[in-house]
């Protein structure tokens, strides 16, 4: 573990201000949504809109608090991160999401597998994609055929299990 020590710089933190704005937006959406609910409070005066409103006001308060900390530079320093590996994994998950119903579980998940391995330093996709598809297919067989889990089948699965 290599720990970098530093004194936090006391200056404005734009990223934290964005978080504060985001919290305010979530609160706004909740208030807007609760306004259109028919409040069937009955005897209690507390209906389906009440709790979302309380939560929304809580979030608004936290948004203000976040903004104050952001302006005072009280937010903790972020660890340095490399964007490329993070994007590889996001790309893998997106690919799986889009391919799942077209190509089936094994191919879609195999690509996720290979892209994740790529993010952690296994760069040879020509090797990892087939490996991932093979592994995912074994997993698919076990979980969909033995444990009866509903996993989408694609051309590969149909080829080997025509009934699936």
């Amino acid at each position: 573990m290599s720990v970098t020590r530093f004194d936090p710089p006391r200056r404005r933190d734009p990223a934290a201000l964005i978080i504060a704005a985001g919290l305010a937006v979530v609160a706004g959406v909740m208030l807007w949504d609760s306004a259109r609910l028919a409040d069937l409070g009955g005897y209690s005066g507390v209906g389906p809109a009440s709790v979302p409103r309380v939560v929304a006001f809580g979030l608004l308060g936290l948004s203000v608090w976040t903004a104050i900390e952001a302006l005072r530079g009280d937010f903790p320093q972020r660890p340095r991160q490399a964007p490329a590996p993070v994007l590889w994994i996001v790309a893998g998950l997106s690919a799986q999401m889009m391919l799942l119903h077209v190509a089936g579980f094994s191919i879609a998940t195999g690509i996720l597998f290979a892209f994740t391995a790529r993010a952690f330093g296994k760069t040879n996709l020509a090797m990892t994609i087939p490996l991932g598809i093979g592994f995912a297919f074994v997993v698919w067989t076990i979980f969909s055929q033995l444990l009866m889990l509903n996993l989408p089948a694609g051309p590969l699965e149909h080829l080997i299990f025509p009934g699936a």
Partner: protein, 505 residues
């Protein structure tokens, strides 16, 4: 019938071959995920929720509890041999355990950890069995306002509202509560925050959320660090057995660790880790060899390892008797109960004693299994440690998405997984704790129901919430737990700032 008779009946249930098999699968998986860094019991139970959907309820719950116990055992192995804690509750074990391993005393370190875990697990499970009926009796008089107060207390303590991160803990909690509002309102049937998307009418799937937070967010964060430490595996040399002096120095720390860990796990004070740190500090204070601490003192392994297993059993006390989770893993286990239409609490003890006592008794059996799995078979687990990171995380994400697809094979669900995963990554990046958002999502709807029931009893009078002494005391403690650290922090601020260190990688 006393607790003892119930426990015997439970043992009869738990000794059925199928239940034994579930327990064995649970403890084996639990040890494995305990050993593997980057994957813990909370994530594992979350992944298994969709898989166990069609299996037997009692068996699945026994398996989940086995995973929880097993995680506590397995975490120590990596701490001792690799200086890399597999679980946050084993961090402190690395302190003395790895030093012992480097001196060629890895065997006794692993042994004292496993035997200590066993003894602590046994005593704490018995304590759970004998305490539970008492708490159930007390809890029978609890009405909606007491439950609401209990949940508020759990919210405050789980949000790590202590010290530096109160703002971020509460933010994480409120985001969870906001997500909990999505879907059909359980009392009036009105759709909330569903934005015309039919899938959202059922609310946010706990599995998707937990898996995204624990697996996807974590994988993104670790990948982004880009630091590949070559973990140095210290081979287990010499005898794995403890010498007479090891035994003499271990048994008291085991017992003390048990009695420190159990109440801390049972209190809504948030997690097993606190007990391990306290146990370490206690052992160092009481030791006849304080100079050995920092150089491989066996007490520093024995005490904390006992404490973390006792905590795991302690966590089950409020979970089973009140339906109140005090840690992320317990919250996911609560989701497991709910998946089978069961609500832990005093009523479950009355309506389904076979299941509850079978579960408690199976923990005793799981403990024996774990002792066997972790002492003679330690070599097998050590092999797991040599799985390279690319394959490990690729595998974790494969199973993470498998769980989500299994629950609901839709593109939208995977999109939510990705979205929450990125949110979890951002939260890690900015120092927001993950447990509160998960606990908020799971506990939020229950807290809301209790609140609204309480207020309909009182016809809208909010003062009713604090008119019962129990509820008033619980809410008072919650308020103190929130406010006192903030005041202390404001007072000691100058001092804190100079010491504020950076993030670890």
């Amino acid at each position: 019938m006393g607790a003892f008779d119930f426990l015997l009946q439970g043992l009869a249930t738990a000794a059925e071959p199928m239940m034994l098999l579930y327990a064995l699968i649970g403890v084996t998986l639990g040890t494995a995920v305990g050993v593997l860094p980057g994957i813990g019991p909370a994530l594992t139970v979350a992944l298994l929720l969709p898989v166990t959907y069609r299996l037997d309820a009692a068996g699945s719950l026994i398996m989940f509890a086995g995973i929880y116990y097993g995680g506590m055992y397995g975490g120590s192995t990596t701490s001792i041999l690799l200086n890399t804690p597999g679980e946050s509750a084993s961090i402190i074990t690395a302190l003395e355990g790895n030093k012992m391993a480097r001196k060629g005393r890895g065997g006794p370190a692993l042994a004292t950890a496993a035997i200590g875990s066993f003894i602590a697990g046994l005593i704490a499970t018995l304590l759970l069995a004998f305490l539970a009926p008492w708490i159930v009796k007390v809890a029978l008089v609890f009405g909606p306002r007491e439950y609401f107060a209990l949940m508020v207390l759990a919210f405050v303590t789980v949000s790590a509202a202590f010290g530096d991160s109160a703002l971020r803990g509460l933010t994480s909690l409120f985001l969870g509560l906001a997500l909990a509002c999505v879907g059909i309102d359980q009392l009036t049937g009105q759709a909330r925050l569903e934005f015309g998307v039919p899938v959202l009418l059922d609310g946010i799937e706990v599995t998707t959320m937990a898996v995204a937070m624990f697996a996807v967010g974590e994988a993104l964060f670790i990948a982004g660090q880009r630091i590949h430490i070559d973990d140095e595996l210290t081979a287990v040399k010499g005898s794995i057995w403890m010498s007479a002096s090891d035994w003499a120095r271990s048994w008291k720390p085991w017992l003390r660790g048990t009695f420190i860990g159990f109440p801390i796990g049972a209190m809504p004070a948030g997690g097993a880790e606190i007990g391990t740190f306290l146990s370490y500090a206690t052992e160092k204070k009481l030791s006849k060899h304080p100079e050995e601490f920092g150089h491989g003192a066996i007490e520093g392994v024995a005490g904390p390892e006992a404490a973390n297993n006792a905590s795991a059993a302690g966590t089950l006390v409020p979970l089973l008797t009140l339906g109140l989770p005090t840690s992320a893993t317990a919250a996911i286990m609560l989701a497991g109960f709910q998946q089978f239409g069961l609500q832990p609490g005093p009523l479950l003890f009355a309506t389904n004693p076979t299941l509850v006592w079978g579960l408690i008794a199976s923990l005793l059996i799981a403990n024996f299994m774990l002792l066997v799995l972790n002492l003679p078979l330690i070599g097998l687990w050590v092999k797991l440690l040599t799985v390279p990171k690319p394959w490990l995380y690729a595998g974790i994400l494969l199973f993470a998405t498998l769980g989500t697809i299994g629950a609901n094979p839709s593109t939208f669900e995977l999109g939510m997984l990705l979205g929450f995963g990125v949110l979890g990554y951002g939260m890690r990046l900015f120092g927001y704790p993950i447990a509160p958002i998960v606990v908020g999502l799971i506990l939020g709807p229950m807290a809301e129901q209790h609140l609204r029931r309480a207020l309909s009893i009182s016809q809208g009078d909010w003062g009713y919430l604090v008119q019962s002494p129990i509820a008033a005391v619980l809410l008072g403690i919650a308020a103190l737990a929130l406010i006192v650290p903030l005041i202390l922090r404001a007072r000691g601020k100058g001092e804190m700032l100079s010491q504020l260190a950076g993030d670890e990688d």
